[in-house]
């Protein structure tokens, strides 16, 4: 009785061992291809990355007037042939455990500071959401919101790019945290969630809250510093 059991066992373990070895051997093609493809993708990213960044910066610059002044005023200024002076800054914030750098665009019209545009990014429902946030010179109210990049679910989460949803943020007080609610907004600091896309709505609102929290202080400081004399 005992013997019979022992006959099977060594064979079974032997097979298992050779099978395990076989799996690794069989996977060589997958591993090699993964390495080759990874390397070529790195190459593609290195060559095209700068161009893509440039495209995004160009788009950001185009959006600055609208974000700071609102669509109507921005168009008026363009018709009058005036152009905003846009100066990019990088503001770094020390947070416990990490350091975050924000790209901030300072918008000036006729030497006068008219507002700020912050660029921030974070995890959405599907992928990274990258957005631009317009603030008035004293960083007291939100003047505009634009989604630069998103890959949210078509038909649900990607409604964050619609003007109807984005314009809720305009004229919101930066002194209070914005809250996402599901059934109609009551308080001033509430944002109506998109039906079926609460996570995307929360992600955007969270990004806005964090960016304001991180940067408000430095923007106010910069604004008062910049007011009397033009300063680089």
């Amino acid at each position: 009785m005992v013997k019979q059991n022992k006959i099977i066992e060594p064979e079974a373990t032997g097979m298992l061992k050779s099978k395990k070895r076989g799996y690794i051997l069989q996977a060589w093609l997958v591993l090699t291809l993964a390495l080759c493809f990874g390397a070529s993708l790195a190459g593609v990213q290195l060559t095209l990355g700068p161009t893509i960044e440039e495209n995004k910066i160009n788009e950001t610059r185009q959006k600055v007037p609208e974000l700071v002044l609102g669509a109507e005023k921005a168009q008026k200024i363009e018709e009058q042939g005036q152009a905003l002076f846009i100066e990019p800054h990088t503001i770094s914030i020390e947070k416990p455990g990490k350091k975050i750098s924000y790209s901030v665009y300072e918008a000036r019209l006729n030497e006068e500071l008219i507002g700020w545009v912050l660029k921030t990014a974070g995890q959405g429902y599907a992928d990274k959401i990258e957005l631009l946030l317009g603030l008035d010179p004293q960083a007291k109210t939100i003047t505009g919101l634009f989604i630069l990049e998103q890959k949210e679910t078509p038909g649900l989460g990607n409604k964050i790019i619609t003007e109807a949803w984005r314009k809720q943020f305009i004229n919101k007080d930066t002194g209070r945290q914005l809250i996402v609610v599901k059934k109609g907004t009551k308080a001033l600091n509430e944002i109506d969630a998109i039906t079926g896309a609460t996570i995307s709505s929360r992600a955007v609102t969270g990004l806005v809250n964090t960016a304001i929290g991180d940067l408000k202080g430095s923007l106010v400081a910069k604004a008062s510093h910049n007011q009397p004399t033009k300063d680089e």
Partner: protein
């Protein structure tokens, strides 16, 4: 042994007789999603053609090394690589179009036309046959996409490739540009194709 199809045969078959959209009903997600304008449809077709051609050629080159249980992993890996290249390329040189197409470019990875062609054709045929199969199928896909996009854009906006073709007085059928328009157009066109097909076979075969 079954006769191996010739490259020319594969090429011709892909365009109409085995059209990926109208005959095989594959890749319907982009077919419905990005056909509200000709420009988007053409860009999408080009991206799919690029990915399909590259994936078919690579799969065909390594077809003798493929293990049956690992083949899907390898197909997906290959397809994902070329889709990423296409996505980055669009973002660099056609930024606005890449924003319009949004997530549908990355979604080519799961487009079943490509994985189907890798599985059915490229993993069993020579490089030349696989490449001509890819070209035929891509042309078939492009034709299907542009036929739907043409109907939707012309009826929905009165324009074709952004050029006005219907008089200004044309009341734009906005629904054609919206998602329901995709289903309506696709259903009607698919019905027409099937009707023509059955009419033909009735005429030639059954009498």
């Amino acid at each position: 042994m079954v006769d191996q199809p010739t490259p020319l045969e594969r090429f011709v078959q892909g365009i109409l007789p085995e059209n990926p959209v109208y005959r095989q009903l594959l890749g319907l997600c982009p077919t419905l999603a990005v056909t509200n304008g000709m420009k988007a449809a053409v860009t999408m077709s080009c991206a799919v053609a690029f990915v399909l051609l590259c994936a078919n050629v690579i799969t065909s080159l390594i077809r003798n090394l493929l293990k049956p249980h690992l083949r899907i992993v390898i197909f997906t890996l290959t397809i994902a690589t070329f889709v990423t290249i296409a996505d980055r390329f669009l973002a660099a040189y056609m930024y606005q179009m890449s924003k319009t197409l949004g997530p549908y470019i990355p979604l080519i990875i799961v487009n079943c036309i490509i994985i189907c062609r890798c599985e059915v054709c490229a993993s069993k045929q020579s490089v030349l046959t696989a490449a001509s199969d890819a070209l035929g199928q891509s042309i078939g896909f492009a034709l299907a996409l542009s036929s739907i996009a043409a109907v939707r854009e012309i009826l929905g906006t009165g324009m074709f490739f952004g050029w006005r073709v219907l008089p200004i007085s044309w009341p734009d059928w906005v629904i054609m540009v919206l998602p329901p328009g995709a289903f309506l157009t696709f259903g009607i066109l698919l019905g027409t194709v099937n009707w023509i097909g059955s009419y033909r076979s009735e005429k030639s075969g059954n009498r």
